[in-house]
Structures are given as C-alpha cells and as structure tokens.
Symmetry: C2
Subunit: 386 residues, 2 copies
C-alpha cells in the first residue's frame, strides 16, 4: 500500500518511531532519507532573530545544495539552550549520518516542542538507531511522529506524468505559526537542480505558508526542507515543477489551517483596492491578526465594524470613506457604512470569506488564511509547558 | 460629599443619566461642563485611519483651543455611519450647545459602543435635555455613564497646593484599546494656557495611555479631552502642571489595565539593553501583543521560551545569544538559555513583571502594561454585537 506522503515519490524511505521524548508515549522521532540517484535540496527557515540550534545546523547543511536525509524530533524544540543546544543538534546530525553511512553535512535536523529544555541525548541516540532499523515506505509514520499539539497528520501529493512531489507538515504557519514551529518536508522524484528546487520552494512558500497566519507568532524553529531524488528520470520544466510545488504547498497550508489550535472557523481574508499587492498583504494580515475580529468569528458574529477598526491601523493607503466589506459574498459595509441586513448575515458555517476593498482603485490584491480565536486556543496555550 | 472625579476641581459640573441607548437600562449619557472663568482645552484622538464621526467633530471643536463642555454617549460608537453619522454627531454637538447656551464649536462629542448602527437621535435629544437638568457635582455619575463592558467606574485626582487635576476614564488603552474605545476626560482648576495643556496632555499620553496595550487593537473613537477652568486662580509652572497630569494619567492607566476585558493578570513588560527607548518600546509591545505569551500568563506558566520567540520578531536590534529574561525579579533566562529553576517560578499572583534585556549594552528602556488572554476575553468579545 503506497503512502501519500514523503515516501510516495520514487527514491525515498522514511521512519517514524517512539523514542520516549514525549511523556505521552506518542511517536516523537522521524527520518526521511533520499536514496538518490540525485541529492538536490533546498530549505526555507524562520525569519525570527532567535534561531533554534537545529535551524543553524540545517542552514549550514544546505550550503552545498544537497542533502541525503532529514532527522526530526518532536516534544523538544532544542531552542535557547546555549552552547549545549548547539552541540546536541550537531550530535543529532552526526549520529544520523553515522547510522546512514553519509557525511554529517548531508543531514538536516528539525526539532519542535518546548523551548528551553535540553534534549535528552540518550533517548535521541537510541531513537536514531531505531529510525535506521525501521526505514521503509513509512511516510505516514514519519508524518505522525513530527506532530505536537496537531490533531491529525498532514500529508499531500501532487502527481504529474511520470513524476510527483509530496510532503508532510506539522504546526501552523510559516511567518506566523501557532505553537512553536511549522515543519514541512517535501520530496520529489523529478530531476531538478538545487537552484530550481530553491526557487520553486521560495516562491511557493511566499504564496502559501507565508500567508498562513494563525496568531501572528513566529517560531524559532520553522523549517521547510525539500529533497529531489531524480529517481523518475523525468526532468520537468522549471515552470511545470514550480507549479506542482505551489499546488502541494497550497494543499499543505489548507491542512495546517484546518488543524490549527482550537480552530472552529477557517477564515480567508482578501484585501483589494490597494496600490500594490504588498499593501494588500499588510492590510489582510492586520485584519487576520486582530483578536477582536477573531473573537467575532468564533461567535459567528458579522461584526464588520471590527474589520474596519482593524484595517484602519494597517500600513496601507486607503480611502477611509470608501471601504467595502463582504462576508461570504454578501456586502455588509459599503462606502464605510453598514449595508442593509448586515447584522443578519449567517456566519455559522466553518468557512468564512472576508473580502475588503480599501477604495483607492489600485490593482493590489492579496489573501491570508487565518482562524478564529476560541476558548480551546486559550486552553491549549495556557496549559502547554506545565 | 465631594466627588473624586471630574467635578472635584473648582469650576466644573457634570451629569450622568440613563437616556435609553443601552438595552441594559444602565446609564448611557454624560456631560462635563467647564464653568470658567477660563476655557482652555486640548485633546488627543485616535491614530486609526478610520475615524468615528464624533472624533471629527471634536477635532474641529478644538481648533481654537477652548471648550465649554464634552457630551458623551455609551452603547453606540457612531462610527462607520456615513454622512448620516456626521450629521448626527453635529446635531449632538448643537443640541448640547443649545442646552448650555454656548456656541456649538465650544462642545466636544465622544461616543463609544457598537460600530455601524445609527444613533437613536430622539433618545439622544431627550438625553441631552435630561443632562442639562441634572448638572451638578456629579463626576461619579458621569464616570458611570460612559462605561461599556467596563466593570467599574474609573476616576482619579491629583491635588496640589490650591489646585488639582482630576479625570475619569473608560475602556482600555489608547493606541490599543480592547473593546472599542478608550475615553478620558481630564479637568483642572489650574490657570494654564491651551498650549501648556496640550503639551502636558501629549507628553502624559505618550508615557501612559500609549503604553497600555491590551490586545493590539485601536479604536475608531479613542479620545482624551482636557479642560482647564482657571477657577483656582493658581498658575503652576508648566513643569509642575505636566508632572501632575502625568501622575493622573498614570493612575487612570493603572485603573484601565486592572479593568481590562477578561483580565486575570496585570502584566508589566519592560525591555532594556537596546540602542534607544523607541526600540525598547517596539520590543516590549511585540511581547505584550503575543497571544502565546498572554495565554501562558493566563495559565501562570513561566514559559520564558515564548518571550524569546516573541521578541525575536521585534523591530529592534538585539544580540540573540545574550538575551536575559526575569519574571517577578527572578532570572529565568540568562544569555538566551534557561536559568536553573526557571520552570518553578511562581506566577500565580495577579501581578507579573517581565524584564527583558536584549543584550546590546545600549541605554534604551521602555515598559508597556498589558494583560493575560483568558477565556473571559474570548467570551466577552465573541458575544458583543449580538
């Protein structure tokens, strides 16, 4: 039975095991291995100035544009652990390289979980041996083992004529993950250079993961890694490849949004009528991060006044007297004034589309995906480290 | 029995009545009148690009630096109501002026409540008559009548030798109020020019209301108005006066923070070790707005890793390896690494002090007041307009 995840493309094997890092006894280590014949790789990592030790290791490993494997642990972020954290991340890399018989610089490391506790290295070392013993067509198990507060494993695949690109993800958001860290691993059996892979990954992340904004927070550990085995012997054009990667990342973003912490509403906020797309994105993000808007969504309350109050603080040009807002296609505010029946719009469903026109007549347009702010979000995030 | 609020300084009268705007039947209109002999005035209003009709009226009224009165209503913000909203705010101003026998340009107007519903003008007109009939030493009643989801009336007074400055407030935050709008009215019987009043008000607001940040939102209606009657015949120096105003605003800020929506923790976040105070303020605000930090505070969880993850995204220079964090005076993170016993720090009390040093050795320092993110905050804000 073929997996739909990272081992679906030819040339990849994976493992997911319970090493014992999590007190819950759930799977907590994963390994994804590229068996070649090619080893092109690329990565996008956090923009946070506070960077976890594994991210430093991964950035260095990507210097030559190739990777053989990515090793993961969940339950501990190995962030803010000082010199010992750096040494532990390096040892995690070296132990995995030894297990696979490759150079340490061919292994990327990703960690997710609580910040500020040292990794239990005996557990990690034993886990790496176990991962080596369990390598196979186990994308699904790997996708399970990287989860923290996620409720479901998140995998996707985009198949083309003779090749495919697939991925697994955990967490929520790239520029704005919820609880620590979004991690994504993408595999493909297409023949692509690391330059093409890097370009496709950066463009796709900008359009998808970077417009997923659950709570405005950004992790110290965010990492998206892509590896290409070339095992299909098919070489798509750069454009064909980029389109497939974007389609995959779009699907993974949708899955991340749907499994965000405490989510009861999936909200897409689109802003148009700005001078350029960057201003539209700023404005959409400002609305998407506004706790009052997010609470109104939780209450299925068509409180469009909060959308105006939020967008009025955005770093975007607007005509404050000409703003229009629609909820799920129904105009609720026209020329910055309530539309008839606006308070009666039904937002009881799980999906809400918010469309805002800032009234400048410009061609700018952008969307962000976000969620509501629920009791569960508060519950999950007030009980995490203890 | 003297009030401690806006009618405490000589030369002021006030009223607070139930006009019938709020369905709850609670008081919902207020009037503060300066009986002279001087009428110097100043105001600070919202930085939001979307500006409520009463704020436009108030800005115009302040053009000549004098005011005789401020009329308030709660329960309806008169924001985003288009041309009719502007007409209604003007009529509210004119009717009050007629009631008092002064020019409309001598009256400021403040509204707070739901955005996007037209003011019930018959109710407003009757309310203004009732306010006129009830003018007296009623600062306390006025302070009650401007509340929305506030739990308690908020008044303060600073007394000096022969003169005083007093105030009333509702809502939460100036740059970042919680549920619609912070309104403040400040009265003094000192002899001060409108220029001195304006300068003192702006400086004090910058230090106090502008560093009160509950949820990052900023209302369309925020207004702080100050009126000076000169009735004490005492003319303090500009510095003496400014110090008294700052002391008053500091106390009102403390009261606003303590009554923020759903608050269970009063959190003061101080950042130092930056190149200048502006960077420190940016960093403190970034931490104070981080929902993960705020949820951890709600859970009394000394999760300092979230502080580092939050501040790493701030627009401020830092040494990512040299950040220190203390909770209530106990170091929890030194050189960006957990301190011994950090997880055991007791945050169960209602007050939490967070001190962060960003490690650049610079002299910058700034604080913001914020609160935790609780179930109650979500409850209040998901049930407001319906």
């Amino acid at each position: 039975m073929a997996t739909t995840g990272v081992t679906a493309p030819a040339g990849f094997s994976a493992a997911g095991v319970t090493a014992g890092i999590k007190q819950s006894g759930k799977p907590d280590m994963a390994l994804v291995v590229n068996n070649g014949p090619r080893f092109d790789a690329a990565a996008v990592t956090t923009r946070n100035k506070v960077v976890a030790a594994p991210v430093k290791v991964t950035r260095d490993a990507l210097n030559n544009g190739t990777l053989t494997a990515v090793v993961y642990n969940s339950g501990n972020a190995n962030a803010c652990n000082g010199r010992q954290g750096d040494l532990d991340a390096a040892e995690m890399q070296e132990a995995t390289a030894r297990e696979l018989g490759v150079k340490p610089s061919e292994v990327a490391v990703c960690s997710t979980g609580l910040i500020g506790d040292l990794l239990p290295m005996d557990t990690i070392r034993a886990g790496i041996s176990k991962l080596g013993e369990n390598l196979g067509d186990n994308g699904n198990l790997a996708a399970e083992a990287i989860l923290t507060t996620d409720l479901v494993a998140k995998e996707a695949i985009v198949s083309r004529d003779g090749w495919s690109v697939a991925g697994m993800a955990k967490g929520v958001g790239m520029m704005a993950p919820s609880l620590a860290t979004m991690l994504v691993c993408i595999t493909t059996d297409a023949v692509v250079s690391s330059a093409v892979l890097d370009s496709a990954l950066r463009d796709a992340s900008g359009e998808t993961f970077n417009t997923l904004d659950i709570d405005g927070a950004t992790s110290t550990n965010d990492t998206v890694v892509a590896m290409a085995s070339g095992a299909s012997s098919v070489q798509p054009t750069s454009q064909e490849f980029a389109e497939a990667v974007t389609e995959l990342c779009e699907e993974l973003s949708r899955l991340l949004q749907a499994d965000a912490e405490g989510v009861t509403k999936r909200v897409v906020i689109t802003v148009e009528g700005t001078a350029d797309n960057a201003q539209a994105l700023n404005a959409a993000r400002t609305i998407g991060r506004d706790n009052l808007v997010k609470c109104a969504m939780f209450g299925s309350d068509p409180n469009w006044g909060r959308v105006l109050a939020a967008v009025g603080m955005a770093d975007a040009e607007m005509d404050p007297e000409k703003i229009t807002v629609s909820f799920n296609g129904t105009p609720v505010c026209i020329d910055s004034t309530g539309a008839p029946g606006a308070r009666d719009v039904d937002l009881s469903g799980a999906d809400v589309e918010v469309l805002v026109d800032l009234g400048t007549g410009g061609p700018g347009r952008a969307s962000v995906r976000t969620t509501d702010l629920s009791y569960s979000y508060v519950e999950i995030n007030s009980e995490y480290s203890t």
